[in-house]
């Protein structure tokens, strides 16, 4: 048979599958962090390939900020059903109601920081010893040094100075009780790799990734979708523009880019020539130069 996946994508696919199988073998209760975004969709796709003809031997976990795009949630439920995966959802709203966290206020308010608490609580509740995430090293400088198997202490914290050396294809997942690992099978993929893989495998993705007309508000150089979670400030105008999203997170801080790319093929052409990193559209990273690193230490995804 002729193979669809060749060359560097084949190498990346093999590597990711190897990591998935290592996780299933080394950990008792892994979970796959699922957001409905393209990276977590590709992750789920790869996990299914890794264990076929068996089912994925761990559940998906979605931390729902309550500020999601409706399209994301609809897509999530359809996708999970089609692939026959088990999905668990935990809500930031519950953490707020229980007084575990306090909601931010003001125009820049976001639940992005709050979800860390909900996530850590969920991992504890599920007694998860490994959380698989779709983060990639090309996304942001702080992630360039992240390991495939990233050790977290009992408080879910990441210590950049205390990460284990990772050599050859050997992944050391040994840990003390209460500690857990974040595992990133897509570490070596770039945004373009993910898109090419989606194209070749014909993987379904939320339509938010493709160009569509939408009401947006421009704020601090970022185009935010006009949703119930956004309140336009003085001087801000709601405009109708043709946009798409390059990442899909909390609707309060995920920026859109102006684009005419209405198909995956067009997105690939555009990504090949893109002049902004995908996280460039996320206002939460811009808060300070070392923003991502600080959030990671606290246990962010």
């Amino acid at each position: 048979m002729t193979l669809r996946i060749k060359g560097h994508l084949k190498a990346l696919e093999n590597e990711a599958v190897h990591v998935f199988r290592e996780v299933a073998a080394q950990f008792d209760r892994p979970v796959l962090l699922f957001s409905g975004g393209k990276d977590s969709v590709v992750m789920t796709w790869l996990a299914r390939k890794a264990f076929r003809p068996g089912p994925i031997p761990f559940p998906l976990l979605h931390i729902d900020t309550g500020h999601n795009f409706i399209e994301t949630i609809e897509f999530r439920d359809r996708f999970v059903e089609e692939l026959g995966c088990m999905l668990l959802v935990r809500y930031v709203q519950d953490s707020i109601d229980q007084g575990r966290v306090q909601e931010e206020t003001g125009p820049d308010a976001s639940r992005n920081v709050l979800q860390t608490v909900t996530l850590l609580d969920a991992l504890k509740e599920l007694r998860a010893d490994a959380a698989l995430g779709g983060a990639r090293r090309d996304e942001e400088k702080a992630r360039a040094k992240e390991r495939f198997f990233s050790h977290r202490d009992r408080f879910g914290q990441w210590d950049p100075k205390n990460q284990r050396p990772e050599l050859w294809r050997l992944y050391n997942g040994r840990k003390a009780p209460g500690e857990h690992f974040r595992v990133f099978p897509l570490s070596n993929w770039t945004e373009l790799d993910v898109w090419q893989y989606i194209q070749l495998e014909e993987i379904p993705i939320p339509h938010l990734y493709l160009a569509h007309e939408r009401e947006v508000v421009q704020r601090n150089g970022v185009l935010l979708a006009n949703t119930e979670f956004i309140e336009p400030m003085e001087g801000e105008r709601i405009e109708l523009r043709t946009v798409r999203f390059r990442t899909i997170g909390d609707a309060t801080c995920t920026g859109a880019v102006e684009s005419e790319a209405a198909s995956v093929d067009e997105v690939i052409l555009e990504t090949g020539a893109a002049r902004l990193t995908e996280r460039g559209g996320r206002s939460d990273d811009k808060r300070s130069e070392a923003a991502m690193e600080e959030r990671k230490r606290e246990g962010y995804f």
Binding site: M1, L3, R4, I5, K6, G7, H8, L9, A11, L12, E13, N14, V17, H18, R21, E22, A25, K49, A50, F51, R52, P53, G54, P55, R137, D138, K141, A144, K145, P160, K161, R164, P165, E166, L167, W168, R169, L170, N172, R174, K175, S187, N188, T190, L192, D193, Q196, Q199, S263, D265, I268, G272, A274, R275, L276, T277, G280, E289, A290, E293
Partner: protein, 641 residues
Amino acid sequence: MTMTKAPVETDLLRFTTAGSVDDGKSTLIGRLLHDTKSIFEDQLEQIEGASRLLGEEGVNLALLTDGLKAEREQKITIDVAYRYFATPKRKFIIADTPGHVQYTRNMVTGASTADLAVILVDARKGVLTQSKRHAFITSLLGIPHIIVAVNKMDLVDYSEARFEEIRAQFREFSAKLTVKDISFVPISALLGDNVVSWSDRMPWYEGGSFLHKLETVNVGSRRNYIDFRFPVQYVIRPNQDFRGYAGTVASGSVTPGEEILVLPSGHGTRIKSVEGLEGPLEEAVAGDAVTLTTEDELDISRGDMIVRRKNVPTVENRFEAYLCWMNEESLDPDRPYLLLHTTRQVQAFVDRIEYRVNVDTLHRESAETLGLNEIGRVEITTASPVFFDSYRVNVATGNFVLVDPHTNVTVAAGMIRGEVKRLEKLEDPAEEPDLVGRPVTPGVVWQGWNVPRAERERRNGHRASVVWFTGMSGAGKTTIAREVERRLFQRGIGTMLLDGDQVRHGLCGDLGFTPGDRSENIRRVGEVAKLFFEHGNVVLCTFVSPYQRDRLAVRSLLPEGRYLEVHVHAPLDELRKRDPKELYRKEQAGEVSALPGSGAPYEVPDSPDLSLNTAVTSVNDAVEIVLARLERDGIVPSAAG
């Protein structure tokens, strides 16, 4: 607009860059990313801002790659960082490592997965000690290609003579190494000369640009495509009809129908199918993640290795290796470590440090231990056999890491040289007798058992096992073991009990109680126990066996899960009171040699399968505990069922 599918048949080159803070390594990488248009506007904006904050003129491309806050403050990179860029020909992964002497460990980490190493040399300074260190590590890690980038050519007036001088210096040094292919390119990372495209400022240079070299070097030449090795990673068994062994082909290739052998059991069968990620395959090669199914249903699990019937790796529990120590806490030869090799995890001791390599001079130095960032040649003994090839021949089955079992931290990276050579050992008369490797009479070839144990076990209706009772004299080993045997016998289980006093009549009648004789005693008993084991029995052994090393040696003779170590103990005062054989009294009187745990050492087992304190546990309870464990482990059927 008509769309064609993007060509994605580009391949992947992983390379490592090593250089010091001032060689301009970060600038070179920044230049590569910038000139291949792999930098995005917002990243550029970010580093422009950061450059201004640091009071620098223009854009500091080095800031692109200096990730973490701490290192940005210190202006050095302190860990391995991975960078990505692509050209229409290739996708590249850079493992960017710092060049300080204290970061040998990072360099080794980066080099472990690389096909090529870039070594930066400052044209003004020439080949420094650290360039040599980089070259040595590249060679040690078996990277086949080196590009020496002679940087800052703009500061030596683009001098051809200077370039040639450096090339000669480097060649002289590298003659001692085993790198297949070394090439040189004069560049200026700051100004971009010869980085992406050829520069007319050095018309005398006729080779390709730095990027051209990266794009044309042969990828994958590290892989072994001949010797099929398949470490089983995970068993996929969704239902009664499917049982597949998932894993990544470490080396060689495999096709359906091939005759295979499974290690360590040695059972043979044929490959029924090779399931790829997109469906059944006609062949899988090194690097492919696949799932294999077999004609016959065998008991195969994670850590086993599937190989071709007529091409098997070395199966040994002793080998020589190069070890790079990566932890602040130095190597402790008296402590067991966990050795991770392919998908296997075994206990291991570093028995001997033959020498330490001075990475700057390549001289061999004698050493008692290895500290952080030190590299040495060592001898390693594992609790059960490892299936390996020499790293030179097969990187995938020749590498391992050591993990500290207390902190779980990876403390060392190793490259296997090969088996311990018996001749070499004879050169060192001071060495203890070889108790771990199984001695073989020259010219005698091992034949498989006529009736395999598995067949005997099927007929017997229970599995075979060795239960090893260790502990000081008077602790109650024999009392418990005798009762366990009686109870098993009554249930129709095949048993044999080997007792210290019995074997000293006859089999070991020629041995005394010196440390060497005690070890030899245990070695012989281990071999005898193994014979009864292969006959399908539950073999109960009661021996003081004071040395961990000897107990490990016995354990290593048996398959995983078939050796149960039972530590029987009570406080020394209590034992002296009991003194059933009056040995402690005789020791006091000087009539017998010192007893283990009293006048002589007794090494308490680190992690026995069972620990029985007979000062608080009755004989009857102890017996029940042992029987329950044998049932739980599936050795004997449950008494109730």
